[in-house]
């Protein structure tokens, strides 16, 4: 009952306060809308009230997900804060940190990013080499390079992992910091990916400063914080992927087949049906996981099934696109507004590999499922228990032009 009333009110509010169209391209507009959402009581639903949250439960969260899906809220700049760094602050932050960071995060006043990956530390995040050195006054100085950072171009604050003790084994000498992105020691450069777009950034830290109270969790306890945070990463990445892959979904390709007049081709139909079935089954799996969560069964490492299936689906979409589009996927006209019929298709084709790499490669997902869900033994690791400074790490000769 209470839930029904709440859901009804939410629906009404969303109907009366649709996000302005520009909020999807203009960050400031998105921030204004987020503040409105928060003021209406619809931000941080499951977060404690004392930090600006609503103190509600999984039921309301599920209702919000369902009701807001159609409204297409401009959440992209806030996803990392809401989905990853925020929950970690709730878990591990000091009362001061929570007070300082959570309310502006929920209101969209401060945008967060996450500085984990490095050129030499991809799948093996814990082999990171960004250094944090403690000053006599207890503050920290960070230097190093981070990559694959979403949001960095407009972020105010970052959760950053840095190595504080290279004499400990690699997982044991890492600390998580809260870093002010608006300082001279931080340089953000867009990273053009294989689609030709730059949704990610490289971030260079050159003696960037973090005050003494900027440690999130324990000194040298950053791996635990990172693990918590990485558990949330898969979800938000998959959302981003879908938008870029829309050209190779069964819906888009069915439309294309009709437009190209090949929808009657038995092979095209065969491939479209297969793609649709795989899409739909993944949706059903995701729905089921959501229902299990609401019923108190945590998804845990099974989330990797969804991530993996999503990646395979993207590749399946690319394959089906070839059947439907044929040579039309090779080259196409660009109209006066700079867009062409092949653009979405090409974006879908070129962004498919991201689904298999970003947020944990397919190989990593399969290891997670094999080890954490099925209980199979880990791979023998040469570097787990050695001091980090003696362990082989991922650096590839820069002269060869590789940098990740």
């Amino acid at each position: 009952m209470a839930e029904e009333n709440w859901r009804e009110r939410l629906r009404t509010w969303l109907a009366e306060h649709p996000p302005p169209p520009e909020a999807h391209t203009d960050v400031a507009a998105a921030q204004r809308y987020q503040a409105q959402l928060h003021d209406a009581g619809y931000a941080g639903l499951t977060w404690p009230k004392e930090w600006g949250g609503q103190g509600l439960g999984a039921v309301e969260a599920q209702a919000f997900a369902e009701e807001s899906a159609a409204a297409d809220l401009p959440t992209r700049p806030f996803m990392i804060g809401m989905g990853m760094t925020g929950p970690t602050l709730v878990d591990l932050g000091t009362p001061e940190q929570k007070r300082r960071y959570l309310p502006p995060l929920l209101r969209g006043e401060e945008i967060w990013c996450q500085l984990f990956s490095e050129p030499g530390a991809g799948s093996d995040v814990a082999s990171l080499r960004t250094r944090a050195v403690r000053e006599p006054d207890g503050s920290w100085v960070l230097s190093g390079q981070k990559v694959w950072t979403s949001n960095a171009q407009w972020a105010d604050v970052a959760a950053v992992l840095a190595r504080t003790d290279p004499d400990k084994p690699k997982h044991g000498g890492i600390t998580m910091f809260v870093l002010d992105m608006r300082q001279p020691g931080v340089t953000v450069r867009p990273l053009v990916d294989m689609t030709g777009h730059a949704p990610f950034n490289e971030v260079y830290l050159d003696e960037a400063r973090v005050p003494a109270d900027g440690v999130l969790g324990e000194v040298d306890g950053g791996w635990r914080a990172a693990t918590t945070m990485l558990g949330h990463e898969r979800v938000s990445i998959s959302g981003m992927r879908q938008r870029r892959g829309r050209g190779v979904t069964s819906a888009a390709l069915t439309e294309l087949a009709q437009r190209r007049d090949v929808a009657g081709d038995p092979l095209v139909r065969d491939r479209l049906a297969d793609l649709y079935a795989h899409e739909r089954v993944l949706e059903l799996f995701t729905d089921r996981m959501r229902q299990e969560t609401a019923a108190g069964v945590p998804v845990g490492a099974r989330g990797s099934v969804g991530k993996l299936a999503g990646a395979l689906l993207a590749h399946r979409g690319v394959e089906v696109a070839g059947h439907v589009a044929g040579a039309d996927a090779v080259a196409w006209e660009v109209s006066d507004d700079g867009e062409g019929p092949g653009d979405d298709l090409a974006l879908g084709i070129a962004s498919a590999p991201a689904a298999s790499i970003a947020g944990g490669t397919n190989e990593i997902q399969r290891s997670i499922i094999g080890e954490r869900v099925l209980g199979l033994p880990r791979e023998p690791a040469a570097d787990r228990d050695r001091p980090f400074r003696d362990a082989p790490t991922g650096e590839v000769d820069r002269a060869a032009g590789s940098h990740v």
Partner: protein, 351 residues
């Protein structure tokens, strides 16, 4: 849409699994190695002791009045155990036909108790050339799944459902050779066999019977997949090669992860289709078609991996792996080639 089982449904699963864990292995080997027919005793116990053969039959027709979600659980457990049984012929096709006819002749009760076993010609698979001639039926049909062991035959001709005594005069059943040694098929030759006309079903009603069978078969396949994953993971956790348990090698570990991922998705698809069968019957065709398209090849791929990761032992007759492999392939093709499944889905998608 409810995709998580209730605690009652979990209990149903446990009860069925407990019985089958004890009884099925012997029954499987009796059929596979000795050519024995379906285990009538065990079938009766499922009907009476557990009362699970009429789960999807309304109470007013003498059934348990549970639903297709529950029957899917039974199917899954039967698949997991690979029990040679007339589930598909008797507890699915014949039962659903009789429910569709609102039949009160008592046959539903006998099928539900496991007292009698039935098989159906003319709904799944090739139509054959049976026709009504004089007072009886004449012609051939087949392969008819589960007909070898059946007491009763339901033969559908032009939408009319005829009931025959499978052991009566004018009925000759010729057992067929089959890919899957745990499922028995026969050709049925009718030479003026006496038949009772039970009623008729329009094409929508017949399609519903097919869709319900699709859900049951897909559920059975998820049971096959689940067992394949469990047994394979257990094996690769024990088997040592080159000084390490083979499940620690990525080639095997990642393959097991793929098996699991595929199975968990298949389970979700089947739950959605079974839910629709109970709660949104008009919408059943689409999720049923989705389940079939996804589960058929997925189940075979999983059992193929099962054989592969068992290595040599998995290639022997003595080990069960091949029975899962053959059941999966047989289930995938039972209603026709994979292309037919996808063509139907494309139709429903309005491509």
């Amino acid at each position: 849409m409810q995709l998580v089982p209730t605690s009652e449904q979990d209990e149903l699963r446990s009860a069925v699994r407990a019985l089958l864990d004890k009884q099925a292995p012997r029954a499987v080997r009796a059929t596979v190695d000795d050519g024995a027919g379906y285990d009538r005793d065990l079938w009766r116990r499922l009907g009476t002791e557990l009362g699970v053969l009429g789960l999807a039959v309304p109470e007013e027709l003498g059934g348990a009045g549970a639903g297709h979600v529950e029957r899917a659980i039974l199917a899954e457990e039967l698949g997991r155990a690979l029990l040679p049984s007339p589930f598909l012929g008797s507890a699915v096709l014949a039962t659903d036909l009789l429910v569709g006819l609102d039949d009160r002749s008592g046959l539903l009760g006998a099928l539900g108790s496991g007292e009698r076993m039935a098989a159906v010609a003319g709904v799944l698979g090739p139509a054959g050339d049976v026709s009504v001639s004089g007072g009886g039926l004449r012609g051939s049909a087949g392969p008819v799944v589960d007909a070898t062991d059946a007491d009763d035959l339901l033969v559908v001709v032009d939408g009319v459902v005829h009931h025959l005594d499978a052991t009566g005069p004018g009925v000759v059943r010729t057992p067929l050779r089959s890919l899957d040694p745990t499922r028995r098929h026969a050709r049925v030759d009718l030479d003026g066999a006496a038949a009772t006309r039970l009623g008729s079903l329009d094409s929508d009603a017949l399609q519903r019977v097919r869709d319900l069978a699709t859900v049951a078969i897909a559920a059975e396949q998820t049971g096959v997949m689940g067992a394949a994953v469990d047994r394979t993971v257990a094996y690769v956790s024990d088997r040592v090669q080159f000084g390490r348990v083979i499940g620690s090698y990525q080639a095997v570990k990642h393959g097991c992860a793929d098996m699991y991922a595929s199975t968990e998705q298949a389970v979700s698809a089947v739950r959605a289709a079974a839910w629709a069968a109970d709660h949104d019957p008009d919408a059943l065709p689409l999720p049923a078609a989705v389940a079939r398209v996804f589960v058929g090849p997925a189940a075979f791929a999983v059992t193929n991996s099962m054989v592969q990761y068992h290595g040599g032992i998995g290639y022997t007759w003595e080990h069960d792996a091949h029975l899962f492999y053959k059941r999966a392939k047989s289930d995938e093709l039972l209603s026709g080639p994979p292309g037919a499944a996808r063509a139907r889905l494309a139709e429903l998608m309005k491509v």
